[in-house]
C-alpha cells in the first residue's frame, strides 16, 4: 500500500527534474511544426482534411493568422470584466456593457460590421495574464494597467484608452485625509493587480504599516469593505468611483485626494501577431480621431459628404489610411462609429453627465486639444 506513495514520489521527482532540466529555454521557435506543409500544400478552395492538423501545432501564429481565425470563427473573443460598473458589467437585460466592453464591440464592428459578433469571456484580474499568454482570447479589455513587465510577459498592449491613477476610498466618518493617517489600517484590495503592489510600495516607502485583506473577485473586495472588514479600499480612482456609486449610501464614503500611481488602462492582444495588434490598435485610434474630427454615431452618414479630406479618408470615401493592409474593409471606420460612436460618446455613455453608470469628470481623459492626454496618431 505504501509503495504507491513512494512510487509517486519518484515520478514527481522525475517530473520536477525534467521540467527544471528544460528550464533554460534556448530557441524560441519550434522546429517540428514551423514547416507545416499540409496547410500550404492544399489550395484554399478545396476543403482539405489534412489541413485540420496544422493549426494544432503550437507555433507563433503567423502574421495575419489571428485575424483569419477570428473571421472564420465568425466572432471576436474578448476577455472582459462583468462586475465593474462603467467599464464592464451586465445591464438589466443581461447584456455585457461598459466602456471596455464597447472597445471590444468596436473591434467586432470593424471586422464584421456587427458590434454583437463578440463572445465575452469574464475573467478575473489574476486571469488576465494567462488569458493573453495562452492566446485563448483575441483581446483583453478589462481595465488593465499597462506596465513594462506585463508588456514583456503577457502580450502586446495597444494604446492607452483611459488614464487613471490609484486612489484610496475610506469611510467619511473616519476623518482621514492623508495616507499617513492610515497608518495601521486594514485595507481591502484585489489580488493580482498593480494596485496591490503600489499599495505595499506606498506604505513601505513612508515607513507605515497596514494589514491587507485581498480577494480575487472585485465584488468580494468591496462587499468586505462595505461590511466594515476594512477601513479603506484601494484601486484605480475610476473603479472606486464606480463602486461608490453602487453602494447603499455613497455619501458615507470619500475618495481621498491622493494619487498613488499612474494607471494607464489599455486593451491588449496576445503577443506574436503584429497584424492583429495593428488592427486592434487602429480601431482604437479611429475612435479617438473620430472625436477629434467631430464624427459621431449620429452624423456619420451625413459626414460622408463632408468636404474635409481627413473625414473623407476616415470614412473610406476617398484615399486610404491602410485599411487593406490591415485586412479590413475600406469603410470599417464608418461601421465602427455607427455601431459604438466615437471615443467621447463611449465615455459619456457610461461616465458622462447623464451616464448610464455614474458621472466622472473626464479630467486627463479629455482630448489633447482640450487639455487632456487622449491623443492618437493621425489616420493617413
Amino acid at each position: 500500500m505504501n509503495r504507491i506513495p513512494a512510487l509517486s514520489l519518484v515520478v514527481l521527482l522525475i517530473l520536477g527534474m525534467a521540467l527544471s532540466a528544460c528550464a533554460p529555454a534556448q530557441p524560441t521557435e519550434c522546429p517540428e511544426c514551423t514547416p507545416c506543409p499540409e496547410a500550404t500544400a492544399c489550395p484554399e478552395a478545396t476543403p482539405c482534411p489534412e489541413a485540420t492538423e496544422c493549426p494544432a501545432c503550437p507555433v507563433i501564429p503567423a502574421r495575419g493568422e489571428r485575424l483569419q481565425t477570428v473571421i472564420s470563427r465568425g466572432r471576436l473573443v474578448c476577455g472582459v470584466h462583468t462586475e465593474l460598473l462603467g467599464f464592464g458589467y451586465i445591464d438589466a437585460n443581461g447584456r455585457n456593457v461598459g466602456f471596455d466592453v464597447d472597445l471590444c464591440r468596436a473591434v467586432a464592428a470593424a471586422i464584421f460590421n456587427d458590434p454583437e459578433a463578440v463572445e465575452f469571456v469574464p475573467i478575473t484580474a489574476a486571469e488576465r495574464g494567462p488569458a493573453l499568454q495562452t492566446g485563448e482570447v483575441d483581446m483583453v479589455a478589462r481595465n488593465m494597467t499597462w506596465t513594462s513587465s506585463r508588456e514583456a510577459q503577457w502580450g502586446n498592449f495597444t494604446t492607452i484608452m483611459f488614464y487613471d491613477g490609484q486612489g484610496i476610498m475610506v469611510r467619511a466618518d473616519l476623518g482621514v485625509t492623508t495616507i499617513e493617517e492610515l497608518d495601521g489600517a486594514t485595507i481591502c484590495v484585489t489580488t493580482g493587480t498593480t494596485t496591490e503592489l503600489n499599495l505595499a510600495d506606498a506604505f513601505r516607502s513612508r515607513g507605515l504599516s497596514f494589514t491587507p485583506v485581498t480577494f480575487e473577485q472585485t465584488s468580494a473586495v468591496y462587499s468586505a469593505y462595505e461590511e466594515g472588514r476594512c477601513d479603506a479600499a484601494t484601486s484605480d480612482k475610476s473603479q472606486l468611483a464606480a463602486v461608490r456609486a453602487g453602494f447603499a449610501n455613497p455619501a458615507d464614503h470619500v475618495i481621498l485626494d491622493i494619487t498613488l500611481s499612474k494607471e494607464p488602462l489599455t486593451p491588449a492582444v496576445p503577443a506574436g501577431d503584429d497584424q492583429w495588434m495593428d488592427v486592434v490598435r487602429t480601431v482604437m485610434w479611429v475612435l479617438i480621431n473620430a472625436e477629434e474630427l467631430g464624427v459621431n454615431s449620429q452624423n456619420v452618414d451625413a459626414m460622408m459628404s463632408s468636404e474635409n479630406p481627413e473625414v473623407r479618408r476616415l470614412l473610406g470615401v476617398e484615399g486610404s489610411f491602410g485599411q487593406s493592409d490591415l485586412g479590413l474593409s475600406n469603410d470599417f471606420a464608418a461601421n465602427v462609429i455607427r455601431a459604438v460612436g466615437n471615443y467621447g460618446e463611449i465615455y459619456d455613455r457610461y461616465m458622462g453627465p447623464n451616464g448610464l453608470a455614474f458621472t466622472l469628470d473626464r479630467g486627463m481623459n479629455r482630448l489633447w486639444r482640450d487639455g487632456g492626454l487622449i491623443y492618437a496618431p493621425p489616420l493617413r
Binding site: 528544460c22 499568454q133 495562452t134 494589514t211 485581498t214 480575487e216 477601513d231
Partner: protein
C-alpha cells in the same frame, strides 16, 4: 499419454507463457504511461518556448512586492517569492492541522450521537450529516465567511468577553502571553513536575495492584502536577509570563493574538464539512464491530463509555483508518478553496505569484508538488499507524 501431456506442458510456447505475458504487459503499460507523460511535459515545454515563456525558477529569488494578509513567520513585501510561497505553505498547514484535529473530534462525537438510542440526539446528528454532506464546500465557505463572520459587529463595537477578549468582524483578539526572564526556569520546573507525577502514578498504581491497598495514585500525581508549577509561578518575584492585552488603536486593535475571520471561516468550513464525512466513516467502523462484543462487554459490567473506549473503538479503528486517511487528504486538498474567501493559503499565494511574476507553469508545478508531498506524507504516516493496529493473522 500422460507422458505426452507432461512433455507438452514443459514446452509451452513463450507467447502463452504466463510469466512472459505478464512481463510484456508490464513493459507495455510502463511505455504507455511514460510516453504519455513525456508527451505532456514535452508539449508544455514546446508551447512555452513557442510563446516565449520562461520555465525557469530564477524569479523565485526576486522580491515579491505583494502584501499578504496573514503569516506565521514575519513577512513583508520586500521578501522573495520563494519566501511568500513558504508563507502560503505554512498557512495551509495551519488550517489543515487544526482542521484535521477538530474534524476528527466532531466526526467521532457525531457518529456516536447518530448511533445513540436517544431519538432527538440521533436525529440531530442525522440532519447535520445529510445537510452538510450534500451542499458543496465552496458554498458553505461563502456562507461561513460572508454570512457569519462578516456579520459580526464592526471593530469599534467589538463584543468584549471577559479577560480582554474582543470579537468583531476583524477577528478574535485574545491576550498574548509574553515569556519573561524567569519563564524558562519555570518551564523546566513544570517538566520535572510532569515526570515526577508520571513516576509517582505508575509506582503507586503498581503498589496498589500488588498489595491491594488504596494509594490515591491519581490524587498524589495531580497534586504534584499542580502544586510545583504553581509554586514556581508565584515564588520568584517576577511572573514567568505576562499578558500583552489587545488595545484599540486608531483603526484596529494592536497587540495580543489575532484569529482572522478568513482563517476562522476556513477552519470552521473545513471542520463542519469533513466532520460529517468522518462521522459516517466512524459510524461504519462502529457498526462493523460484532454486536456480541457490545453485549459481552456490558455483561462484564463495563459502563457505556468504557464499552466504547475499551472494546468497540480498538476494533472499529481497523475499519475506520483507511477511509479516514482519505478524509484527511480531502481536508488538506479542500483548503485550496480558501482562494474564494481571501484566506492566504498555498494556492492563493501561488495564484498571486503567477499573476505578479507571470510564471504560470513553474508555479503550478510547485503548487502541485507541494500538495502531493503533503498528501503523501499524511498517507505514509497513517499507513504506518494502520499497519500497527491491523489484526496480526497467524
Amino acid at each position: 499419454m500422460s507422458q505426452r501431456a507432461q512433455s507438452a506442458g514443459t514446452t509451452i510456447p513463450f507467447w502463452r507463457d504466463e510469466r512472459v505475458i505478464k512481463g510484456v504487459a508490464q513493459v507495455i503499460s510502463a511505455i504507455v504511461v511514460i510516453g504519455a507523460l513525456a508527451f505532456f511535459v514535452g508539449n508544455v515545454i514546446r508551447a512555452a518556448n513557442a510563446r516565449g515563456l520562461g520555465l525557469g525558477y530564477g524569479f523565485l529569488r526576486d522580491a515579491s512586492g505583494m502584501p499578504l494578509g496573514e503569516s506565521v513567520i514575519p513577512y513583508d513585501p520586500s521578501k522573495s517569492y520563494a519566501y511568500a510561497f513558504l508563507v502560503g505553505i505554512l498557512n495551509t498547514l495551519k488550517a489543515a492541522l487544526l482542521g484535521i484535529v477538530l474534524a476528527t473530534i466532531l466526526g467521532t462525537v457525531t457518529a456516536v450521537a447518530r448511533l445513540s438510542s436517544n431519538w432527538l440526539v440521533s436525529k440531530i446528528a442525522s440532519v447535520y450529516i445529510e445537510i452538510i454532506r450534500n451542499v458543496p464546500l465552496l458554498v458553505q465557505l461563502f456562507v461561513w465567511y460572508f454570512a457569519v463572520f462578516q456579520k459580526l459587529p464592526p471593530v469599534r463595537e467589538s463584543i468584549q468577553l471577559p479577560g480582554s477578549v474582543y470579537l468583531s468582524q476583524r477577528g478574535l483578539y485574545i491576550p498574548r502571553p509574553v515569556p519573561m526572564s524567569t519563564f524558562w526556569t519555570w518551564l523546566l520546573l513544570t517538566a520535572i513536575a510532569m515526570v515526577l507525577a508520571i513516576v509517582l502514578y505508575t509506582t503507586l498504581t503498581r503498589y496498589r495492584l500488588q498489595t491491594g491497598r488504596t494509594t490515591y495514585a491519581e490524587l498524589v500525581a495531580a497534586a504534584v502536577l499542580v502544586l510545583i508549577p504553581l509554586a514556581g509561578w508565584f515564588l520568584p518575584g517576577e511572573r514567568p509570563l505576562t499578558l500583552e492585552l489587545p488595545e484599540m488603536g486608531r483603526f484596529n486593535f494592536s497587540g495580543g493574538l489575532r484569529l482572522t475571520p478568513e482563517y476562522a471561516a476556513m477552519v470552521t468550513g473545513l471542520v463542519v464539512y469533513t466532520g460529517a464525512f468522518i462521522a459516517e466513516v466512524v459510524r461504519a467502523g462502529i457498526l462493523a464491530v460484532d454486536r456480541g462484543q457490545f453485549e459481552a462487554a456490558r455483561a462484564m459490567g463495563l459502563k457505556n463509555i468504557q464499552v466504547l473506549r475499551l472494546v468497540v473503538f480498538p476494533q472499529a479503528m481497523r475499519v475506520i483508518i483507511p477511509p479516514l486517511i482519505s478524509q484527511y487528504l480531502n481536508l488538506t486538498k479542500n483548503s485550496s478553496l480558501a482562494v474564494g474567501i481571501g484566506y492566504v493559503d498555498l494556492f492563493y499565494v501561488g495564484r498571486t505569484i503567477i499573476n505578479q511574476a507571470g510564471q504560470a507553469v513553474p508555479v503550478f508545478v510547485m503548487v502541485m508538488a507541494t500538495y502531493l508531498l503533503m498528501s503523501l506524507i499524511t498517507s505514509i504516516i497513517l499507513n504506518i499507524y494502520n499497519r500497527r493496529i491491523q489484526l496480526v493473522e497467524r
